[in-house]
Amino acid sequence: MTRLSSTAVAPRLSIRDRIRRGNERPVWMEKPKPTTQVVKAVALIVICFLAIYPLFAVLATSLSSQAEIAANNGLVVFPKAPTLDAYRTIFSGGVVTDALVRSLLITVIGTTLSIAVTVAMAYGLTRRDLVGGKFFLMLALFTMLFSPGIIPSFLMVKEMGLMNSYAALVLPTLMSAFNLVVVRSFFMNMPQELFEAAKIDGAGDFRILIQMVLPLSKGVIAVVGLFYGVGYWNAFFNAMLYMDSDKWPLSMILRQYVLLGQPMGDAVAEIAVPSQAIQMAVVVVSLIPVVIVFPFLQKFFTKGVLTGAIKG
């Protein structure tokens, strides 16, 4: 790298230098053989292809016309005449649009509540000699080791009178002990002197949380929020257990009309079994939020925001 500092003076770098600049090969390491490099490059390309192609295939089918799908025996690798007909159909009102709105609302409200409860509890538990603090922490941690079981959980929701209410989609999965531990260890690793100083200046615990801790915790909140948000967005089983079909989120619509191939109501009534393009369009619509949000948040994973979670 030091050798490159001289070239950095020159405004233009050769392509070779630019490639080398991204490299971090230590001095002692031999240059890999060309065959090794080729094998590695092929492996990486194959891996990326395997990860991406299925999603691309779904997108391609959703953009194809029914005629093109039929002509190609169901398989369209690259639509020759891409059309948004499938999307127009599903967005022309009715089942999918409603479910999409419901899913977005459940996800936004659920994630907000989950973050609030998790951050609050994690912050409270940072006080070393909090009355019952150890007990509360263990109470949360033990839930990582067992689950009450499907039937008791189901009966609990039923007994609480939550059947067919949206609370049944949020409350049972409101918090995860793992996320609690991640947030708490992040808080514990903050410089405590800062907060002690604020306390001497007369700030209360709540004010310290809002004005000092939260602004410093954007990364960890983003990561935990992503975990919660993805959980709410993808969840279908609670909806399957607790909700009538007129309150289904998008994931259940997907299961019903794409996986089980049952006819869609309302808007697409004229098509008994949804055409392949429409089915795949629903898949793409449910993929979009994840694909949009992920790139903004993925950098936090490599930055190690999950710091010290193992310590509990």
Binding site: F237, L259, V283, V291
Partner: protein
């Protein structure tokens, strides 16, 4: 078979908090006991009322949705009828358990569960290790970060979408049957062939979580002492020798740890994944313990037997997790100890 959530923390970062603690501990040694120890119970209660109020909603959640339902397992000992409720249903002792053991469907579900988790252990487990070794050997930061992002993404895609995507690829009209056709091989529908089901489930799990699983191994790889490589290279060790003698021993403790933790969750298969696809292949191949509980209990109303299966699974699962954690602890320490010896 996802990696146990407790182990997700990158070991690289562990150093810092541990180091901090040591500093704090040594500071504490010199001084008298810190002031907060002397605060009385009532004074702490008064001082921390805000903190306690903040903790309360979370505690209420865990109690209501994790501890109170535990008591609901009592229906494993009842002839539970929803219209009678807990109180009026007849107590039948262990009848539900003997019904469970004489039910062929239960044994089938147990066998399917073990086949799937066993297969995942063999086929899934090595993939993240190999992938992280490959990623670790990529010198270009940009390429490495890109590939990492690409392989992390499927982890965040829900099972409903994944099953839909796989039907599109492997199903009758997908690209794989088309390729089989053009290669002159017999086509088969991977989504609905019972014999293929364990493999299908494993392939899906690999697609979804193998990339995500590399996080922990990459962290372990970064933790390997880089000077060892330099010393070995100076002594004339080639890339393969360095991998064999430094890299692999360096991450062995974490491999053993995860292997043991995975053994601890051998009764748990991804429930959502299976429940979506069980009917494609029929209960003979597609029923696992969790789906047995769901279909026999909530769907068919055999509440008692299903709850008994759930309870047995839960208890054995708890002991497996506790036991494997203990085992991992023992092995983990020994593993770290033996890697220290190579230094």
């Amino acid at each position: 078979m996802s990696i146990s959530s407790q182990t997700l923390a990158p070991p690289k970062e562990e150093r810092t908090p541990a180091g901090n603690k040591r500093v704090r501990a040594s500071k504490r040694k010199g001084k008298p006991a810190p002031e907060y120890r002397q605060v009385s119970f009532m004074a702490r209660l008064r001082r921390d009322k805000v903190m306690l109020a903040l903790v309360l909603p979370g505690v209420a959640y865990f109690v209501l949705f994790h501890y109170v339902p535990l008591a609901g397992n009592i229906i494993a000992f009842l002839d539970y009828k929803p219209y009678l409720g807990f109180v009026d249903s007849v107590w039948v002792g262990f009848d539900n358990f003997s019904a469970m053991f004489s039910d062929a469907a239960f044994w089938g579900a147990l066998r399917n569960t073990l086949v799937i988790t066993g297969l995942q252990l063999v086929l899934f487990f090595p993939v993240p290790i190999a992938l992280s070794l490959l990623l670790n050997s990529i010198m270009s930061k940009r390429i490495r970060k890109f590939v990492q992002s690409v392989v992390y993404l499927p982890h965040f895609i829900g099972w409903v979408i994944i099953v839909a995507v796989f039907s599109e690829i492997l199903g009758a009209t997908g690209i794989v049957p088309h390729l089989l056709d053009s290669a002159g091989l017999p086509r088969f529908d991977a989504m609905t062939t019972p014999e293929f089901f364990p493999f299908l489930v494993t392939i899906q799990s690999i697609w979804k979580d193998a990339g995500w699983g590399t996080i922990i191994f990459l962290a372990a790889l970064m933790n390997v002492d880089q000077e060892l490589y330099e010393a070995a290279a100076v002594d004339g060790a080639g890339p393969w020798q360095r991998m064999k003698n430094i890299t692999i021993p360096g991450i062995m403790p974490i491999i053993i740890l995860l292997l043991i933790l995975n053994l601890g969750s051998i009764l748990s298969v991804g429930f959502e994944q299976i429940v979506l696809q069980r009917d494609n292949v029929g209960p003979g191949a597609g029923e696992v313990l969790d789906t047995y509980v769901y279909f026999h209990g909530i769907q068919d109303g055999q509440w008692g037997t299903a709850a008994a299966v759930g309870l047995v699974k839960g208890i054995i699962g708890l002991f497996l997790v506790l036991g494997s954690n203990k085992l991992a602890h023992m092995f983990g320490q020994e593993g770290i100890y033996s890697s220290d010896k190579t230094k």
